[in-house]
């Protein structure tokens, strides 16, 4: 299990949060309860199982929604 923090471009609308949250939660290998979208900090935090999914896949899912990924950190 690893922890990831993805920094996005500034989020402006609250429904963005819901979109991103649902999109990330829908992915296989993500711990659903750990998904947190920080509106003001414009960050997404979540735990994931690195054997089932790569962080790049998550990034892709978010960019597909139209949000730029600026930086990703995995611990």
């Amino acid at each position: 299990m690893k922890k990831a923090t993805i920094q996005l471009e500034a989020l402006a609308c609250p429904s963005c949060m819901q979109k991103i949250e649902n999109a990330v939660k829908a992915l296989e290998g993500i711990e659903k309860d750990t998904v947190k979208v920080l509106f003001n900090a414009s960050k997404v935090k979540f735990d994931f199982n690195e054997e089932k999914i790569s962080v790049e896949k998550v990034e892709k899912a978010i960019t597909a929604l139209g949000y730029e990924v600026i930086k990703t950190q995995v611990k």
Binding site: A10, P14, S15, K19, L38, N40
Partner: protein
């Protein structure tokens, strides 16, 4: 293609705005109705593109977003050939989003400035002894780093070589530079004001105090109160509900105009954004003033406070004894003072230090035949005179005569909580000094401000003896003060206060009072960056500056008020619009969209006022 359109959303808004203006102008000036219609159609189609894309993206992840409502509404307007409404609504929606983004960035700026202080590079010593620039992420514990004037300290560490002064504002909010020498601790994110030092890295990356503060602030600004979680749940169902309502209205009235107007009016905007905006601006203001407020829940509790408990005398006093009062008797006082100074220089008693500090420059005489009287003082011979320095008991033993005035003075000094230092020269009392731990400058005013902020009870719990505690309490006008308290007595007392129904804040340094910090509704840590304090408390005054407390409380109250205002504005606007639709025909889709966007801007601007908040 999709991404290109979304990226250029702002340009599209601008373009469709121009088209609308051109269309209307040409219609006015040349009566070109066809041109107007054409311009409006192009403007709405252009403007609708990014909205449709966003709507589909949202639907794909099962969210009925505002974009969905707007897309349906605009399409509906097209169907009934109302191109004017379609164009204006799409334009307002895009333009509003642009303004929201701009203003939101402003409200977030205080915290952004803080995160931008994060160090990026470091000068690391290599194997051959040179210093080489490396990324801060590559620094490991134990590395030796060079910090030059003007550079940021890259990690938490200990100075091993050189000296200088460092501006620690990013950690403590205090801009006065702090002197550093070998052995001193330095913190990541602080700025070398002057000098060059070498440090060893103690904590790197996310373990540094600075990273922890940022992490806390970031979590805090997005933490949610019960009310916000409710709004979130509410808005999840609210938007689909509006859609359903629109459909129902259409089915029953067959009035497309009315149905699509309801879709636009129902957009939840200000309601969802209002509270987070107040939150981020309030916490940002605090962070800039060395105050960490951990989230909106904390702000709410903090603003309702009625009792503040101080954990010890040291919070309110200087923490070091000094001469607070003095009286001189008879002549040759100068001489007596130099004798006193000469005797005290030989002593390492804490009172001696305070006395010497008070006398300052004085002639030094050789001291002979020094005799220390346990629990009394010192007797010595200076310049052939017999000098007795000590407490009243020693004076009595040495048969120093005290007149009525002297006795009254002694009684008064004692009552004020002083330890007494009397000086007799050849059996005659010359100097009476009262030494005590004095009230910190400004504390009386600060407590006054707290009372004005509706804190009814100011209570001190101290480990000191009751006499000292009473004296401090009298001087400060505290509600209650208890001495001889052990840490467990303190937490017992807090429990009792809470059981009595008070809203209690506990101010402590987090060293052995964590239970009380955790028990109180609000734990306020006066921590100069100590980890325990930062973690267990709800509010942190970064550089242990008591003067920040009134600002912190005032800010919490202002922020809580601001959130309420924003909720009232948001709900009020929706109600007013709905009433407008139902009871008059002046509210159409464009007006609805305009008011909706305007209300979002109003709540953001209202939140922004908090950035400038200052306690008057």
């Amino acid at each position: 293609m999709q991404r290109y359109i979304l990226k250029n959303k702002n340009k599209i808004a601008f373009l469709s705005g121009i088209l609308i203006v051109i269309g209307f102008l040409s219609n006015r000036l040349f009566g070109q109705e066809a041109l107007l219609k054409g311009a409006l159609i192009i403007a709405s189609v252009l403007g609708l593109l990014p909205i449709v894309i966003q709507a589909f993206q949202a639907l794909r992840v099962k969210v009925v977003s505002i974009d969905v409502l707007v897309t349906i509404a605009v399409t509906g307007a097209f169907v009934i050939r109302n191109f004017e409404e379609a164009a204006i609504v799409t334009f307002l929606f895009l333009f509003g989003a642009y303004l929201e983004q701009r203003t939101l960035n402003k409200t977030r700026s205080a915290i952004k400035k803080l995160t931008e202080m994060a160090p990026e590079s470091a000068l690391k010593r290599t194997e051959n002894g040179d210093f080489e620039e490396t990324d801060v992420d590559e620094v490991e514990v134990g590395d030796v780093l060079l910090v030059k004037t003007g550079a940021k300290v890259p990690v938490d560490g200990t100075v091993i070589l050189g000296e200088g002064s460092i501006n620690e504002a990013s950690i403590t909010g205090e801009s006065l530079p702090v002197a550093k020498e070998p052995g001193s601790k330095v913190y990541a994110g602080t700025i070398m004001d002057n000098g060059t030092i070498q440090i060893t890295a103690d904590r790197v990356g996310e373990d540094t105090t600075f990273s922890k503060i940022i992490e806390l602030v970031e979590e805090a600004q997005d933490s949610k109160s019960e009310a916000e979680r409710f709004i979130d749940r509410f808005s999840k169902y609210y938007t689909p509900a509006v859609l359903v309502l629109g459909v129902i209205v259409w089915v029953f009235s067959r009035n497309t105009e009315l149905a699509i107007t309801i879709l636009v009016l129902g957009c939840p905007g200000a309601l969802v954004i209002g509270v987070p905006v107040s939150n981020v601006a309030g916490i940002g203001n605090g962070a800039r003033h060395g105050i960490l407020l951990k989230g909106s829940e904390v702000i709410g509790d903090f603003s309702r406070l009625d009792t503040i408990v101080f954990d010890k005398t040291g919070t309110l006093t200087v923490g070091k004894p000094s001469v607070a009062e003095k009286e001189f008797y008879g002549e040759n006082v100068e001489e007596a003072l130099s004798y006193l100074a000469s005797v005290e220089r030989e002593s390492d008693h804490p009172l001696a230090k305070a006395v010497l500090e008070d006398i300052g420059e004085a002639s030094n005489y050789p001291v002979e035949n020094t005799e220390t009287v346990k629990g009394g003082g010192i007797i010595a011979t200076v310049n052939g005179r017999r000098i007795v320095v000590g407490n009243p008991a020693l004076m009595e033993r040495e048969n120093v005569r005290l007149n009525d005035k002297m006795k009254q003075d002694i009684a008064r000094f004692e009552k004020n909580g002083n330890s007494l230092v009397l000086t007799a020269v050849d059996g005659e009392l010359k100097v009476l000094m009262g030494v005590r731990d004095r009230i910190r400058p400004g504390v009386i005013e600060d407590l006054q401000k707290l009372k004005k902020l509706k804190v009814k009870n100011l209570i001190m719990l101290s480990g000191d003896n009751q006499g000292t505690v009473d004296a401090v309490s009298r001087e400060l006008g505290l509600t209650k003060a208890y001495g001889n308290m052990l840490p467990e007595d303190k937490s017992e007392y807090i429990k009792r206060l809470i059981a009595e129904g008070r809203r209690v804040a506990f101010v402590g340094d987090g060293i052995n009072d964590s239970p009380s910090l955790a028990l109180a509704h609000i734990g306020i840590a006066m921590g100069g960056g100590t980890d325990v304090a930062i973690e267990t408390s709800d509010v942190v005054l970064m550089n242990s500056d008591f003067g920040r407390l009134p600002h912190a409380l005032g800010l919490a109250k202002a922020t809580a008020r601001n959130m309420k205002q924003n909720i009232v504005i948001a709900v009020g606007v929706v109600l007013a619009l709905l009433a407008g639709v139902l009871f008059s025909d002046r509210v159409n889709m464009s007006v609805g969209m305009f008011v909706h966007e305007a209300s979002i801007l109003v709540v953001i601007l209202n939140g922004m006022r908090l950035l400038k908040y200052r306690l008057r």
